[in-house]
Amino acid sequence: MTDTALPLVKAPAAPGRERWLAVALAAPALLILLALFALPLAKLLAASVAGPDGPTLAEYAKLLGTPYYLGVIWNSVRLALLTTGIALVIGYPAAFALARARGAVRSALLACLFLPLAASVIVKAFAWTILLRSDGLVNETLLALGLIDAPIRMIFTETALIVGSVNIFLPFMILPIYTVVAQLDPRLMEAAATLGAAPAEAFVRVVVPLTVPGVVAGVALVFSLAVSAYVVPTLLIGERYPTLSTTIAKAYLLARQPTFGAAAGVVLLVIAVATVALSTRLARLGGAR
C-alpha cells in the first residue's frame, strides 16, 4: 500500500459508515418491531402448524376444506368488501366537500371526522346497539312519525353490521382521499376545460386518476380494519354471523384449540396483506404514480 492509495480506500468506506449510521438510527424502532411484531408472528406461524407428531397442515386443511369455515372466511371478506365499497362511495364525495370547504365549515367537518376517532370502537358499537334495538331511537322515531306500525328488527341483522362498520371505519377512507384532493391543483381542471373537456369528462380523465393513490390508501386501510374487526360483528350481529376474528377468539378462549386459532389468524393476515398488496399493484398498473 502506498500513501496515494489511501484516499481511494477511504472514499468508498464513507457510504458504508453512513449505512451503519442509518441502521443505528433505525435500531430502536427495529428492535421494538422485532420484539413486538416479528417474533410473535413467527410464533403464530409455528403454532399454526404444531401437531402432536411434529409439524402438520391439518388445521389449514380443516379451515380451507370445510364448507362451514369457508363460509366464515367468506363472512369476513364479505363484511370487508361491503364496508370498503360503501365507505368509498360515501367517502369519495365527502373528501371533496371537505377539501372545498373553507373557514368554520371546514373546521366543523374536520371535527366530525376526527372526534369519533377519539371514542373507543366498543363505545361506538354499543351506541349502535342502543340506536338500533327494538325500543331504540331509530324505531321510536319511525313509530312516532307513523312510518311503521311495529318496531323493525334491526339489531343483530347484517344491515346493522354493515351500517355500524361503515360508520366506524369511514374516517379511514375519507382522510387519505382528502389529503390527495386537497393537494390537487385547480388549474389542472381549468387546463382540461380549455382543451375541450366538459366538466364530467375532465373529472374522469384528470381528477379520478390523480386521486387513485388516496383511494388505494383508503381501501387498503378500511379493508384490513374491517376484515379483522372483532368488536363490530360481536356486538352488532353476534353468533349469526361468525367471522374469522370471532372464530379465532372462540378457538383460543372457549374451545382451547390454539393451533386452529393460530391457523385462522394466519389466514386472516394473508387476506389482509394480499388485499393491500393487490390494490397497490392495481393502482400502479392504472398509471397512478
Partner: protein, 363 residues
Amino acid sequence: MSQEPIDAASHLVVRQASKRYGATTVLDRVDLAIRRGELVTLLGPSGCGKTTLLRLIAGLALPDAGTVAIAGRDVTRVPPHRRNVGVVFQNYALFPHLSVAGNVAFGLTVRRRPKADIARAVDKALALVHLDHLAARPISALSGGQQQRVALARALAVEPDVLLFDEALSALDRKLREEMQGEMRRILRDINATAIFVTHDQDEALTMSDRVAVMNGGRIEQLAEPRLIYQRPASLFTLNFVGLSTRISGTVVACDGGIVQVDTKVGRLAATGRFLAGSQVVVATRPEHLRPAAGATGNAVSGRVRAVVFQGSRSLVEVGAGGETLLAELPGQEAALLAPDAEIRLAWPVSETFAFPAPEMAA
C-alpha cells in the same frame, strides 16, 4: 347601436368588459380588438386586471358586463370547453399522470378524433417545439423549459382560434426565458397564431408582441406597437412602467403650436403637449436622448454626476440638478470619463420631450 362597427379583420373582440370582485373593480369597461395572426401583450403591474381579462377571454371567468367574440362568434356565455382557445398557464398545469405525448394528445382525445389523426397531430406539435424525442417521458422527468414546451405543444395541438399565455415564461430563469421568447415568437409566426400574452415583464412585452396593451387599474392605458409605447407613451403611467425616464414637474407658462414652455426647478423647459398656462405638468424624456453638451439648442440642464451605473456597452448616468434627478444613457467610453460629483451639462431635443398632466396630489 351607438358603438363603432367592429373592424372586419378583428379576430378577437372584447367590448366594454367589466368585472368586479366584491367592492373591487378588476376590469373597467375594457375594449380590445385583435387581428388574426397578431401577437398582443397585456402588460401591467399585478392587480391591473390583465389576468382577469385573459380569463374572461378563455371563459374561465364570466364578465359582469360586456361581451367577448372570437372569430365572429359571441362567446361571452360559452363555457371554456366549447370556446376553442388554447391556454398556457403560469405553472403549465400539465397532467402529472400522463406522459408528454398523453398531455399533448389530451385535447384531441376529448374531441374524439381518430387515433391515427391524434398520433399525427401529437408528432407535429412536439416536432414544432423540438420535443419529439421525449414523447414517452413522464412529465416529472422534464426540466422547466421542457415542461413549458409541452404546455405550448398541448395548446397548439388542438389548433385553437386564440392562444393565451398567462405569465407563461416567468417561471424560467432569465437566459432560458430569453431563448424561449425568441423561439415562441418563431413558432407562433410559423403557424400564424393569434396570441395574447399576459406579463409584468416589459422586456418580454416589447420583444414578443406586435402590439402592447399597457394596463392599469382595470383599464387599458395604451394599445400600440412596442416602439410607440416606448417612444410616445400616452400617459405618465406608461412612461413610468415601460423603460426609464427623466421626470421633472413644473408649471406651464405658455403654449404655442403644440409646444409648451414649462417653468421647473431646473429652469425653463420646452415640451410637446397642449396645456393651458398655469397647468401643473410633468416634463419627461427617455435617457438615450440626453447628451453632454456645451451650448445646445433644445432643453439643457446643468448638474452634478451622482452615480454612474455600468451596463456593458453603455452606462447609465444619474445627475442631480436643483433637487431633480436626470437619467442619461451614455456610451461606455463617454461615461468612463465622468467622475462622481463632476459638473455636467445635459441637453436633449424638444421633439423628444413630453408633458403629462401632473398626478393628483393625493398620492
